[in-house]
Symmetry: C2
C-alpha cells in the first residue's frame, strides 16, 4: 500500500516508516519540520535501504495537501502530525486546537476530495482523563484534563461523527500509552526540542550529561513505591501496532478504537533504576511536589488489540531502556 504518513519525520512516525518499508509498503512522508529534522530520512534510508518520498508542508495548508494527493496515489493515511507538549498546550491552547483539530479537519476534507477513505489516527490514553480504575479498556468514559488531551478527544469525537455520516470510511483511533525506546540500530530515537516533557528522554539526557538531575514529581501516590505508574511501550512495538491496524482495518469500514499499550505498569523509580542498569551509571534525582493533573496509575488493558489485530507488545523493559541508551549515547545531541 502507498501510505501517507503525516508527521513522518517525528518520533513515532519515523519508526512506523521503517516498519512500513520493511513490510513492503511505500510510505509518503509529509511534515512541517516544526519539531523534527529532515535528517531522519537519511537514517530511515540507512536502516532500510529505501528513502521515503518526502514533501515538506503543513496539514493546515489545503493547497499543499491537494498537491500531495495529486502527486501520489495514496491508499491510506496514518496521521501522526500534531503538537504534543501538555505544558505548552496550557500556555498556548489556540496553537494546539489549530494544529491538532483544525489541521485534522483539513486533512480529512482533502482526503475526501481525493477519495482516500482509510485513516489511522494517533490518539492517546490521555483521553481517559483520570480513569476510575486500571487496567483501562477502550469503552471507559473519556474526558480531558488539559488542552492537548482535549485536542485529541475533540478529534476522536469529530472523526466518529464524520464516520457516522460516511459509513464506508475506515477510521482507526489508536490510543497510545507511553511510547519509549528507540530503533535497535541506534540510528533513530526520540529527539525532543528543549526540555523533554517525558520521563525517559529526560533520564537519557541526565545519563549522557546534558542535564544535572531528574525531577520526580510526587512520591506519595498510592502505588508500590509512591511514584506514578505508567504503561511504557517500546516505539517499535507501537509502530508494529500501526502495521497491524493497517493490515486488518484499512479496508474494514467502521470506527475502530484500540489501546496500544503493554498492559504492564511501571513506576518512575523502576524506570530510573532500569535505566541506571542499562547505562551502567547512576541517575541523580530529586523528589518534587506532584504536578497538577498528574494521575497515580495509568495502564492499558490490551486484550482487544491482541484479539482483533493479532498484535501484542513484545519488547520488555530492559529492551526499552537499552535501546534508549544506545540511541542517546550514540547521538548525545539527538539529530543535531
Amino acid at each position: 500500500m502507498k501510505v501517507l504518513v503525516t508527521g513522518g519525520t517525528g518520533y513515532i512516525g519515523s519508526h512506523t516508516c521503517i516498519q512500513l518499508i520493511e513490510q513492503g509498503h511505500t510510505p509518503v512522508v509529509i511534515d512541517n519540520l516544526c519539531n523534527s529534522k529532515q535528517m531522519v530520512l537519511d537514517r530511515i534510508e540507512q536502516v532500510t535501504g529505501v528513502r521515503p518520498a518526502f514533501m515538506q508542508g503543513d496539514i493546515r495548508d489545503s493547497a499543499f495537501l491537494k498537491r500531495v494527493f495529486t502527486e501520489y496515489a495514496i491508499d491510506s493515511v496514518i496521521h501522526f502530525a500534531g503538537l504534543k507538549a501538555v505544558g505548552e498546550s496550557v500556555e498556548k491552547p489556540l496553537k494546539y486546537y489549530d494544529n491538532n483539530v483544525s489541521g485534522t479537519l483539513n486533512l480529512v476534507r482533502e482526503m475526501q476530495a481525493a477519495n482516500v477513505t482509510s485513516l489511522i489516527f494517533s490518539s492517546s490514553a490521555t483521553v481517559y482523563g483520570d480513569p476510575a480504575s486500571v487496567p483501562i479498556k477502550e469503552d471507559f468514559p473519556t474526558s480531558a484534563t488539559n488542552p492537548y488531551g482535549r485536542s485529541k478527544l475533540i478529534v476522536e469525537e469529530c472523526l466518529q461523527d464524520f464516520h457516522h455520516a460516511n459509513p464506508d470510511w475506515s477510521i482507526t483511533l489508536l490510543r497510545y500509552f507511553n511510547p519509549v525506546g528507540a530503533h535497535e540500530s541506534g540510528l533513530l530515537g526520540e529527539d525532543p526540542q528543549g526540555t523533554p516533557n517525558n520521563l525517559l528522554p529526560f533520564v537519557a539526557q541526565v545519563a549522557v550529561g546534558r542535564r544535572e538531575k531528574l525531577g520526580v514529581f510526587g512520591n506519595d501516590y498510592d502505588t508500590p513505591d509512591g511514584t506514578g505508574v505508567r504503561d511504557y511501550i517500546h516505539v517499535v512495538d507501537l509502530a508494529d501496532g500501526h502495521l497491524a491496524a493497517l493490515d486488518k482495518m484499512a479496508h474494514q469500514p467502521g470506527t475502530h478504537i484500540f489501546n496500544l499499550g503493554t498492559g504492564q505498569g511501571n513506576s518512575v523509580l523502576e524506570m530510573v533504576h532500569a535505566f541506571e542498569a542499562a547505562a551502567k551509571r547512576p541517575i541523580p534525582y530529586e523528589i518534587k511536589p506532584r504536578r497538577a493533573g498528574d494521575i497515580a496509575e495509568c495502564y492499558a488493558d490490551p486484550t482487544y488489540a491482541k484479539a482483533t489485530l493479532s498484535w501484542t507488545a513484545t519488547r520488555d523493559l530492559q529492551t526499552m531502556v537499552e535501546d534508549t541508551w544506545r540511541w542517546q549515547s550514540k547521538n548525545p545531541n539527538g539529530y543535531a
Copy 2:
C-alpha cells in the same frame, strides 16, 4: 463602542445590530451570506436610519479578517457566524466543525493579532444535552447529542482553555434557548432557506400558505399535553441580552456564562394555538413519531443573567407569535 458583528445579516445578528445602533454603538457587520441576504442591511437602515458598515467574507479566511481589523478599530466582537441546522450537521459534520470550530479559532487568532480582547459568543442550550432536570442552571453538566451541539460545546471548551492562558480577555458565552419572533416593525425576521428546522418558522409558513401542514414530533412525552416543551424567547429580548452582556461584561476579564431564556416552558401545541389566535386562522398539524435526540423539556433558570446583567426577557408569548405573524404576512417569501 465599535462592535464587530460576525453573522450580522443573520436572524439574531440583524436584530442585535438594531439594538446596538439604537443604544449608540457602531456595528461593523461581516457575513459570508451563505444563509442570509444583504437586503437585511436595507431593513436595518429603514428601522434605525443608520446603515451598518458591511464587509462580505468568511471567518475562516484569515486575510479577510486581517483586512476587517485593519479597516476598523474594533472594541469588541459579537460572534454569531455559524451553521445551525441539527439535521444537516449529522449529514455533514465536517462542514459544521470547519465553519463553527475552525472558523471561531481563526477569528480568535485574528482578534489576538489585532489586540481585540473582548468576545461574546453565540452558544446554545443544546450544550446541556439531555438535562437531568429543569429549569437548567449554568453549572449543569454539558454534553452533545449531535455535531451541531458538539461544535458549540467544543468552542465553549476551547474558549475557556484560551481564557485560562489569556486571563485579561473578556469572553462571554451566551447559551440561547429557543429564539422566536421578529422585529415589531415587521421588516426583519427569521428567513430560513429550504425547510425550516424550527417550529415557529414552519408554523408561520403553514399560516401563510407556503406549506400544507405542520408535523408535530411526538405527543407522548411526559409533559402536560404530551408534546415537547421549550423555552421560547423573543429575538429582540435575546438581542437586548447581548447589549446587557456588552455593557456589563465587555471590560470584565473572565469567562462569563449566561443562559438567555425566559424561564418559562411552552409546549408545541401551546405555540400552535397561540399562533392560530394571532394569525386568525387554523394551523393544520399531524402527529408524527418522536425524532431521535429530541428531549421532553428544556427551559432555563434565567436568574443568573437577571442578577448579573440586570437583564430579563420581557416579551410574552402573544408578542412572540404576533410579531412572527406580522413579519411572515408582510414578507411571505422572507427577504426573497
